[in-house]
Symmetry: C2
Subunit: 337 residues, 2 copies
DNA sequence: CTGAAAGCGCTTACAG
DNA sequence: CTGAAAGCGCTTACAG
């Protein structure tokens, strides 16, 4: 099975490689190649099983038609569903995507971003970490298209798309207040990521604005806590707060573990205890009908990210602020089945 | 920010591009380049911020150092965790990976496999569908390294790694028998994939060997069933079987939905009802202590797949049967906390 | 010990 | 309307 090249076809039909290239790129009309020649070339290419070597095209044109995706952990549903939609969108415009996970490991993150650059990706989609900041800025300075997702560097002129975390939590708190809840606990992790900081701030501001005490209502767990440990900690935490009206979980993950803890305390906790998580998934749907969810619009994030990337591919000028998007979260109140 | 090439470095230090290449590839000793020259080159490369253009290397060497990963749906935890480990393993030997989802869509699958070929991937890792068979065979015929995961084409000389589904279910059934259960139901989907067929066969053989009736004990649901519908169907199914001892779910997904149905029927069903799923995850851990799980060793599958791929990269000869691996599943009996 | 040359497969001005 | 030539950035025999 010899690999067929453009030269082979040229030899076969008695034309120059350049003519073959022109025809195979659909520029026959444009370049006014004779219809007979064009047809002979098309036919030969099909018969000989010609497959373009994309690497050669990349080297010559400087466009690899490959995007680089860097997330914290591709096996996490949040990022996996991002990856899914990004691949679909990329595919629809002829791009493929290389992915990497960083595990929140700064060194790894820097290495990955560089490897992707070596592979000449045409654009970057990433959930940044603090340690990537330098490299990200360098990429932007080089005019390489790039979009941050889920997180961002406040103040820097870098394109991003994320959910409006502050507003999402604010609306969630308002929702709980409207249901008459006042003693509301907040469970978060100890990661200092912007989005986590903003969620916490929104909770604090909401409580403050109603002049409600937050004393002892905040639980911060290690970001890499084991499920069993998370359940125990949450259980102890809730157990100490007998008058609790609601618990607001700042992440989906904590919510899942938190629910188990709440279940374990079922007898002690008022039936109208409410839980809000910053995500949605089958677990909530199936095991906690009635729960209130602040949902990140994943599809929307992914599609918007691709859109912002494409915008940078265009030569049309744009204002950086047009490339910084905060999407609203969706508040869903699940009904019991 | 001009892109620095090997030529620029050569000009800078007054050497030939070939010398620079040799040094930067760590072959200075081998080619007996003078230490002074080597050092000057290394220094200049670092100072000028030289980054190898991988596309050029690929074209020249014929090795892209990129693998192609095709799964049914990257957003599914099963495949996402495969993807995670594969990326880690690939990274450790200097490879990147391009991924695609097929959605079980044959046309899409064929398109993806071809696109990856155009991108000159050095090897393929994929969860095959029936419609990819032709393309897969062509790739193997071209001596391109390839490994099938999770599924395979029985009888064809193609490398694969998957869990021994028949044996896994057999052991699970044996486990249930040992607990004294006799009336055991089996819930599966209507997809005709090899692995599903084998799981069902193992269930049937187990029941037959004990001369137990399977009448009305088999539930086959549409593979793309909506969660709500799955719960309803499972509930009705179990509701009609009052003497039931256990339910064996053939997939993790069905298990999750099935558990909800079982919960809804809790009062009617004997306390020692057992459930076996062909997977493990946090949901089970948290919501169904005591459940018995037949776990697919994901890590092992992914690592083995990479190993089999590497084996093909080597020039050492191998027997095709060495590249066809069935891994044992792990039987886990979860304890209540 | 080091450099000049060819070539990977393609595309794109350029010349006729 | 079509072909010859240059070149993308690199590596690898080959020659000295």
């Amino acid at each position: 099975m010899k690999i067929v090249t453009i030269k082979d076809i040229a030899r076969e039909v008695g034309a120059a490689p350049s003519t073959v290239s022109t025809v195979l790129n659909g520029k026959a009309r444009e370049m006014r190649i004779s219809v007979t020649m064009a047809e002979r070339i098309e036919k030969a290419a099909a018969e000989m099983g010609y497959r373009p070597n994309h690497v050669a095209v990349s080297l010559r044109t400087g466009k690899s038609k490959v995007l680089g995706l860097i997330v914290e952990d591709i096996s996490n549903v949040f990022f996996a569903s991002l990856a899914k939609i990004i691949e679909e969108e990329a595919d629809s415009i002829g791009y493929k995507v290389l992915y990497c996970s960083t595990e929140n490991n700064e060194e790894k993150a820097r290495d990955r971003i560089r490897m992707l650059a070596h592979h000449q990706v045409d654009g970057f989609l990433l959930t940044p970490t603090e340690g990537m900041k330098q490299d990200v800025q360098k990429i932007v300075a080089q005019q390489k298209p790039l979009v941050l997702m889920d997180r961002y560097y406040p103040g820097l002129p870098i394109p991003y798309v994320l959910v409006d975390n502050y507003r999402g939590v604010s609306e969630g708190m308002e929702h709980l207040f409207n249901k008459g809840y006042r003693k509301i606990a907040f469970v978060t992790n100890d990661l200092n990521q912007v989005q986590m900081v903003q969620r916490k701030k929104a909770y604090e501001d909401a409580m403050d604005s109603r002049k409600l005490s937050k004393d002892g209502l905040l639980l911060e767990m290690a970001f890499d806590i084991k499920p069993e440990k998370a359940v125990t900690e949450t259980r102890e935490f809730i157990g100490k707060l007998p008058e609790l009206d609601a618990v607001f979980f700042a992440t989906n993950y904590l919510g899942v573990y938190g629910l188990e803890a709440i279940k374990a305390l079922e007898l002690r906790i008022p039936a109208d205890l409410a839980v809000i998580c910053f995500d949605d998934n089958d677990i909530f749907r199936l095991y906690t009908p009635g729960i209130t969810i602040i949902k990140q619009p994943m599809e929307n994030i992914a599609r918007t990210a691709m859109e912002l990337l494409m915008r940078q591919f265009d030569s049309a000028p744009y204002a950086i602020t047009d490339l910084q998007v905060k999407l609203p979260a969706t508040l869903i109140e699940r009904q019991s089945t």
